[in-house]
């Protein structure tokens, strides 16, 4: 976790382990925790938007991974699923620490790759988070781009005749 924080200075990783009890949906719990929690050992300049939260429920034997808005353009749900898949074999044997190391190693690789891609082509990732285009905006843009075609000289001469 420290390594990820060092290599990706904007990002931090948090892990929650424990039985969720009456909270039936682990994804909803991750969503709630990342939005509400204050991580004491995380520097103040790193907001929760830059967080990646891994939640493990040993009782229901489920794990989830959510991330903040900072990584929204760069991470997909499939990426987090791939990270968790790396730990599946370890967590089956209740080797949670080993599984988490595998998750973090794979996450490191994905973040490195996406950071390079973002440096080369930031617009590609920016387009992912643009607000959806409204119908009115679309019509306005079409009208702005529409101009009557300019008449040529030959056409003007024909009219004079």
């Amino acid at each position: 976790m420290e390594s990820i924080s060092r290599r990706f200075p904007q990002v931090f990783v948090a892990i929650y382990t424990g039985a969720l009890g009456e909270v039936s949906n682990i994804r909803q719990f991750g969503f709630w925790l990342l939005n509400r929690a204050a991580f004491e050992d995380v520097p103040v300049e790193k907001p929760n938007e830059a967080g990646i939260l891994i939640t493990i429920d040993p009782e229901s034997k489920a794990a989830g991974m959510v991330f903040g808005y900072l990584l929204d353009p760069f991470l997909e749900e499939s990426d987090t699923f791939d990270c968790l898949s790396r730990a599946h074999a370890y967590w089956l044997e209740e080797r949670y620490a080993d599984g988490l190391l595998r998750v973090l190693a794979h996450l490191d690789g994905i973040l490195t790759k996406r950071s390079r891609q973002a440096r080369r082509d930031p617009e590609h990732f920016e387009r992912k988070v643009l607000p959806p285009v409204q119908m009115g905006d679309l019509v306005r843009r079409i009208r702005a781009g529409h101009r009557p075609p300019a008449l040529g000289k030959d056409q003007i001469m024909e009219v004079e005749k």
Partner: protein, 345 residues
């Protein structure tokens, strides 16, 4: 009954055959027949049918040639068969210490033979501390009398690596001569040199073509030089083995051949070892620096304005969930399980 008849018939038949095979005796003279015929002067068939000796055939007796026998000086100095090496080649032979181990300015050897023999001499030089220089001369040639071999050896071979110099007469290996560089003359005795030369000549005569003779000569001389080298290095018990080398050179050839064969590989390795080590060091250093820089590298993400969703101030819960309750439920079967209401609009 039939069997008895067959046996008796066989015996009779074999007796007749044996009698037929017996040589009939020559006819003998009756009374005075021979004297009567001799009086007539000629006895027809006397040579073939009787045991009379064959009379000598009459022939013309040539008078003996009255040729003067060669003198002893002429026998020793057979100079009419020997030609001197043309003077234009003398400088190429003796002007300086030869640059190559095979000197053939008259081009008596064919190109491929020259290349093969030179390659062998190079191999020998790379494997031995005593170089072998060969001057090729025609079998019917000799150097002019004003050329003093000792002076040439002293002048050209007094410095540098010790060397054994051979004047090889192509097609006449028995005329070959051997000289040693000054650094070797005191160490290797004259009988030893003579034995080396004789064994090399013997080996050369196992071939009939001049090129093959030279090849065998050089191989045997190389072997003898090897034993000379052993002797120089203080190894005892070399004399018996040296004799063995003369008797059975093929065995030593078998041992020496791989060393000669892979000599160029060793030379190449020796030649390229240092540059390869330097390149490898540079490569490893570059690889280490690259790995170290990669570890120390910091990755930053561009920050874009993201519209909050689902009322989440910091995150919108777009992430995966995996269950590890059962080994029969692998991760592959859990893909695509995000509820629709959590998907991004």
């Amino acid at each position: 009954m039939k069997r008895a008849i067959a046996m008796s018939a066989g015996m009779i038949l074999s007796g007749l055959i044996a009698r037929a095979l017996e040589e009939a005796p020559l006819p003998a003279w009756n009374g005075t027949e021979r004297a009567d015929l001799e009086s007539s002067g000629w006895i027809p068939g006397a040579i073939l049918l009787t045991g009379d000796p064959v009379p000598d055939e009459p022939g013309e007796v040539e008078p003996p040639l009255n040729v003067e026998l060669p003198s002893a000086e002429e026998i020793i100095d057979d100079s009419k068969l020997i030609n001197e090496v043309p003077e234009k080649y003398l400088a190429a032979y003796f002007a300086e210490r030869p640059k190559t181990f095979l000197m053939d300015p008259q081009e008596l050897l064919g190109p491929s033979d020259f290349r093969d023999r030179l390659a062998f001499l190079n191999y020998h030089a790379s494997d031995s501390s005593i170089d072998l220089y060969v001057y090729v001369i025609g079998g019917d040639q000799e150097f002019p009398s004003e050329v003093r071999q000792e002076e040439m050896i002293e002048r050209c071979f007094s410095e540098g690596r010790p060397a054994l110099i051979v004047y090889y007469y192509l097609g006449a290996p028995q005329r070959s001569e051997v000289y040693l560089s000054p650094s070797l003359t005191d160490v290797i005795s004259a009988p030893e040199q003579r034995r080396a030369l004789e064994s090399s000549i013997l080996q050369a005569f196992e071939k009939t073509d001049p090129s093959g003779q030279l090849e065998r000569f050089l191989v045997q001389m190389s072997i003898r030089i090897y034993w000379m080298e052993r002797k120089l290095s203080g190894a005892s018990d070399t004399s018996d083995e040296a004799q063995g080398a003369t008797i059975a050179p093929a065995a030593h050839m078998v041992e020496a051949a791989p060393a000669v064969k892979f000599q160029w590989v060793r030379d190449q390795l020796r030649h390229f070892a240092m540059p390869a080590a330097v390149l490898l060091g540079i490569f490893l250093t570059a690889f280490g620096i690259s790995a170290w820089l990669r570890l120390r590298r910091r990755y930053r993400f561009p920050e874009f304005e993201v519209e909050p969703r689902l009322g989440g101030a910091h995150a919108a819960g777009v992430g995966a969930v995996i269950s590890f309750a059962s080994a029969t439920l692998p991760p592959a079967s859990q893909r695509d399980q995000v509820p629709d209401y959590l998907r991004r609009a």
